[in-house]
């Protein structure tokens, strides 16, 4: 029966939200009378041992969660999770990388939406730098990518950015796509 406990633990752990007793029984193909005591035993075990997380009963189901005491620390980690990008940030970064030097207006023209906030956050993440001002009325700022950008993507220099043609060549359907090379360096 030890095996059943391990299995219950594995199911609750791997579920992507609180797992109800009914669902658990269905998955295990075991009656409630057999499964419920196992879950309760598990909850007790976690309660008694000094672990970093516990088994909680939440929203009609069971779920492992870290102890509330640790929340301030864990939030620190959550904030740092920013090595990932939203689709919008990625698009903006891509436009700047391939089209630099580029103004905010040009980015917005290509994306079709306001991009000020995203440019600002990319600047804050040191992925962009300001290359100067464009010689047109209003003298808007010109953006380009930074050294950190190259480091982040593991590029030696901007010439290392793949041209779209190289990807198009992988896929016969895309072969007719525009062969746009990064402009300038």
């Amino acid at each position: 029966m030890n095996n059943l406990k391990q299995l219950v633990e594995a199911f609750i752990f791997a579920a992507d939200g609180p797992l109800s007793l009914d669902r658990l029984c269905a998955l295990l193909e075991q009656p409630r009378g057999l499964v419920r005591p196992v879950v309760e035993e598990l909850m007790q075990e976690y309660q008694l041992s000094a672990r970093g997380f516990r088994l909680f009963e939440i929203a009609g189901g069971y779920q492992f969660r870290t102890l509330p005491d640790f929340a301030p620390y864990l939030r620190r980690m959550a904030k740092e999770r920013s090595v990932k990008f939203s689709q919008a940030a990625l698009e903006t970064l891509a436009i700047i990388a391939y089209r630099q030097p580029v103004t905010r207006a040009e980015i917005e023209y290509l994306r079709g939406v306001d991009s000020g906030g995203i440019v600002k956050s990319l600047l804050e993440r040191n992925l962009l730098r300001i290359l100067g001002k464009k010689d047109v009325p209003g003298r808007p700022l010109l953006y380009g990518t930074s050294r950190q950008f190259l480091e982040f993507f593991g590029l030696r220099d901007l010439n290392d950015l793949p041209t779209l043609k190289e990807f198009a060549a992988l896929d016969p359907e895309l072969a007719e796509a525009e062969p746009l090379a990064p402009e300038g360096t």
Partner: protein, 256 residues
């Protein structure tokens, strides 16, 4: 003996060859090339008779096999041995061994425990209950590929009116007519593709093309092609001095 083989069961010609070597219990270092070539060709022939597509790679290998066979048939005088040095089968053997190795590795990979098949882990569990501001915004792990792909997307979703707008703003067709006719006056005859600079943006290409059409319409140039798909030639059909008249018509073009 008819061999029932379907090419699609093989990931490529090397895979098929390995199979033949194995079923004939041959030593990979000493392939009986006549036998193998014969069997290989008969399989390809069968496929053709069944009206099945035979990928070019399989045909290429057939040619390679026949070439090796012909070299094996050459009298093996010692001089040739010394000159050529290598067994004609050597490169094929090397490729087969190397391929066999990765085929084996592929089998190992298949059996290695895989995430979401053998290993499970709760995904992004902290976001569930730590009340993160951006938990809802789906984020993606990126590499250069994703970056390039994003740019590709932007370009393909680009607003349609882009041409008109930019044409009006910065590249006037009139300007390109002047540029193109000046080059023609100098050279008299130009190939179609020479009119487009390889660095030109898509917009420039479009404007150059429009300029070309305008010149044809004004009967300033002639366009000819000897046969289908051959080079198209542009010839100036007026005296160079007459090009001066161009500026007069410019305003009438309506491109501004």
């Amino acid at each position: 003996m008819p061999i029932q083989i379907l090419l699609e069961n093989f990931s490529g010609p090397l895979d098929l060859l390995l199979h033949l070597i194995k079923t004939n219990e041959m030593d990979i270092y000493d392939i009986r090339i006549m036998e193998i070539t014969e069997q290989y060709l008969s399989i390809i022939e069968q496929m053709k008779q069944l009206d099945l597509d035979v990928a070019g790679e399989f045909l290429l290998m057939a040619a390679t096999l026949m070439h090796i066979k012909s070299r094996m048939l050459l009298p093996s005088s010692e001089e040739i041995e010394e000159e050529e040095g290598e067994d004609p089968r050597a490169e094929l053997v090397r490729r087969l061994l190397e391929y066999q190795r990765y085929k084996e590795a592929a089998r190992l990979f298949e059996n290695m425990p895989q995430l979401q098949r053998d290993y499970f882990t709760g995904l992004v569990r902290a976001a569930d209950y730590l009340e993160l501001e951006d938990a809802a915004d789906e984020e993606i792990t990126v590499g250069i590929y994703q970056l390039a792909e994003a740019f590709h997307q932007v370009l393909s979703n680009r607003p349609k009116e882009v041409f008109h707008e930019v044409v009006r703003e910065s590249l006037s067709v009139a300007q390109y007519i002047r540029r193109l006719s000046a080059r023609l006056a100098e050279r008299k005859r130009m190939a179609f593709h020479e009119c487009f600079s390889p660095e030109a943006s898509r917009i420039e290409l479009v404007v150059t093309f429009l300029a070309m059409l305008e010149l044809v319409k004004m009967r300033m140039i002639n366009i000819e092609q000897m046969k289908e798909f051959s080079e198209i030639w542009l010839t100036l059909v007026v005296a160079p001095e007459q090009l001066d008249q161009l500026s007069a018509v410019e305003d009438a073009l309506g491109y501004e």
